[in-house]
């Protein structure tokens, strides 16, 4: 009897221990009262900015002013000659950045739409942060496209509208598909960012005073949380979650068609669509990990919302995507190689052994070798430092990949008399400008937008329970919707 009691006590102790363990590990099993979570999020957002914050804003702001403002002004007034583009590398870093930023933007949709559709519960606290990445990234992509144009002030000609010239855009051109797709994607991802934000804005409205109150009152558009409002919102979000996935796939596929539809050696590849998508997710997930780690490290109360389990989950995705990317890259490579076209062979050789061979090699190392070497270990995966370093590396690697695809591949064509290297010039400033603007957007948004969708977290916490199956305590999730 005593023994039984003892064992029961031990069991109870074990139970408690298990529960503790679960609470510590899983946000969903560590519920806090809603009000407290609200306060935590509000505090993170409204706390008085430190000097470090202002310093960051000033540094980023000046990079944006010089890189995007002044350099772009020069680019427009003096022409693209101050950039490094030439014959035959007519496209340079601008297009690299476009592809890169569109790639980054894919992670946001992936996390908040695909994971929502598949009810991956770990997504809950960071859907917002990821969605912001979509919108902010797309803005940079758009900027990069307009920078790249020789006469950017005439870019409105690419929009279909009736005019006295009796001319419409050319819908045969992958670029005009691109423009439509990016516009669609930018609009829909912004809307998709906004819809789940409304309840949180309403929360912020209720919790703030002063100018913030006005600000959030306007943004919350009068949301109260009635049954009807929730129903409309839920339906809309559901539609969005499903519909935005093909849009997202189409965007990067079309971006890949800009290259794949061309007659150039190396570009003309049928695998480019999926290959670009997996590449986009690769860099996007990496960027998401970095952003999460930074948000967790710099903002108040975020250690509660963002935990090792989230990095763990992202790490798993990164590992899988890295494998997928390797598979697609190899697929593209072997088919091109096997085809034996002399120009394609020259191009592959140029990639590997040319002056930028180091880039090719490091691309393979950081995109494949490092994720595979590091991310199999769940302890390492859960460490924000490790995963964000891997994330940064993957992003560098993916940027290299795009660099190899755009200017480096352009160096080689069917007219060897024109082969020439591309040496970036003012593009570097403009690229840094877009990067700084991307970060600056986050830095500013961190003070204006509730980064954690509290209602979604609470919804998740309500749905999670610890249940006992026989002797084991496991997590169960009830489907609320």
């Amino acid at each position: 009897m005593a023994e039984k009691n003892k064992s029961q006590a031990a069991h109870a102790h074990d139970d408690q221990h298990t529960q503790e363990h679960f609470r510590e590990k899983h946000l969903m099993l560590d519920p806090l009262p809603r009000g407290q979570m609200n306060d935590m999020v509000m505090e993170a957002m409204t706390s008085k900015p430190t000097w470090k914050y202002w310093l960051t804003v000033i540094i980023l702001g000046s990079i944006v002013l010089y890189g995007l403002g002044y350099s772009w002004y020069r680019l427009i007034v003096e022409g693209l000659g101050i950039a490094g583009v030439n014959r035959p590398s007519y496209w340079g870093i601008f297009l690299v950045n476009t592809v890169f930023w569109i790639g980054i933007s894919h992670a946001g949709t992936f996390i908040s739409a695909i994971l929502r559709v598949f009810k991956a519960e770990f997504r809950r606290p960071f859907t917002r942060i990821a969605e912001l990445m979509t919108t902010f990234g797309l803005v940079q992509a758009g900027f990069s496209i307009f920078m790249h144009m020789g006469r950017a002030w005439l870019s409105y000609w690419l929009m279909p509208y009736p005019n006295e010239r009796l001319l419409w855009p050319n819908f045969h051109s992958p670029l005009s598909w691109d423009l439509l797709a990016i516009t669609t994607y930018l609009l829909s991802s912004t809307m998709y960012l906004f819809l789940p934000l409304i309840p949180d804005l309403a929360m912020a409205r209720d919790k703030s005073t002063g100018w913030r109150k006005t600000f959030y009152r306007i943004l919350a558009i009068g949301f109260r949380g009635t049954e009807g409002e929730w129903t409309h919102l839920r339906h809309a979000m559901n539609i969005f979650a499903y519909a935005i996935i093909p849009v997202m796939f189409s965007v990067h596929t079309i971006v890949s068609w800009d290259f794949a539809a061309a007659t150039r050696p190396g570009w003309n590849s049928t695998i480019y669509g999926p290959y670009f998508i997996i590449g986009a997710l690769h860099s996007g997930m990496g960027a998401a990990a970095v952003v999460l780690a930074v948000v967790r490290g710099t903002m108040k109360n975020m250690t509660y919302f963002i935990r090792g389990e989230h990095f763990d989950a992202i790490g798993k995705l990164m590992l899988i995507i890295s494998m997928g990317w390797a598979y697609f890259y190899f697929n593209d490579y072997i088919v091109q190689w096997y085809g034996g076209d002399k120009w394609t062979k020259a191009l592959l050789h140029f990639h590997e052994a040319g002056p930028l061979g180091w880039m090719w090699l490091s691309m393979l190392i950081v995109n494949i070798a490092i994720p595979w070497a590091v991310l199999w270990n769940s302890k390492w995966r859960s460490n924000p430092w490790i995963i964000s370093i891997v994330g940064i590396l993957i992003n560098v690697g993916m940027w290299f990949e795009r660099y190899l695809i755009v200017p480096v591949s352009l160096s080689i064509n069917r007219m060897p008399f024109t082969w020439r290297l591309y040496i970036p010039a003012v593009e570097v400033y403009l690229s840094l400008g877009t990067l700084a603007l991307f970060i600056l957007f986050y830095v500013i948004a961190s003070k204006l937008i509730p980064f954690i969708p509290v209602w979604e977290v609470q919804e998740g916490q309500l749905a999670h329970k610890l249940s006992k199956f026989g002797r084991e305590t496991v997590v169960t999730v009830s489907e609320l919707e």
Binding site: E164, R165, L166, L167
Partner: protein, 184 residues
């Protein structure tokens, strides 16, 4: 300090002041814009209506129209050939610039009125040969003094007429509506 300024601006008087400043800036901008849209003045207020009224053919002064791309402006020798014989030329104040120009041997600096952008390669001869009349594009010169452009010579204006001219003739339409007909 700034707060007080804002407070002052929020009250009705402040709002009115803001409104006035805004209106002033806006109208200056609009005026500036309208200035850029205006052609400079002609050196001589040339009365087209009178000259056409005397029965002078367009091609007399602008003979290039039937010969080549530009209609051309008459040389002052041509003006003077007639005006020399008109007594009033010697005294008229309006004609003083002409007299001065001829006597000093400096060309008159006309300001072209009807013009197409320089990326449009326009050829008068082809249009005259196709049976177009001057007034189809330049308007009725018996009604204007200093020439004005009745039309905005934009692409729609040109293309519309080209398409109408081609009518059912598809070969001609191909030719007339080809981008390379005007732009090269």
């Amino acid at each position: 300090m700034i707060k007080r300024l804002f407070d002052w601006l929020k009250q009705p008087l402040g709002l009115i002041a803001v409104g006035i400043v805004f209106l002033a800036v806006f109208s200056v901008a609009v005026y500036g814009l309208s200035l850029t849209q205006k052609a400079p003045d002609q050196p001589i207020q040339f009365p087209h209506n009178k000259h056409v009224g005397f029965g002078i053919q367009c091609l007399y002064c602008h003979p290039g129209a039937s010969k080549g791309p530009n209609a051309g402006l008459p040389s002052q020798a041509k003006c003077w050939a007639c005006h020399n014989q008109i007594a009033r030329t010697q005294t008229s104040e309006l004609l003083a610039p002409l007299k001065n120009a001829v006597e000093s041997g400096t060309p008159i600096q006309w300001v072209p009125v009807a013009q197409v952008p320089d990326f449009v390669q326009f050829n008068h001869r082809a249009h005259i040969a196709a049976g177009k009349n001057c007034e189809d594009c330049h308007g009725d010169m018996t009604k204007v003094t200093v020439a004005e452009n009745p039309q905005v010579f934009n692409m729609g204006f040109c293309l519309d007429c080209h398409v109408k001219t081609a009518g059912e003739d598809k070969v001609l339409l191909n030719k007339l509506a080809d981008c390379g007909t005007c732009h090269y």
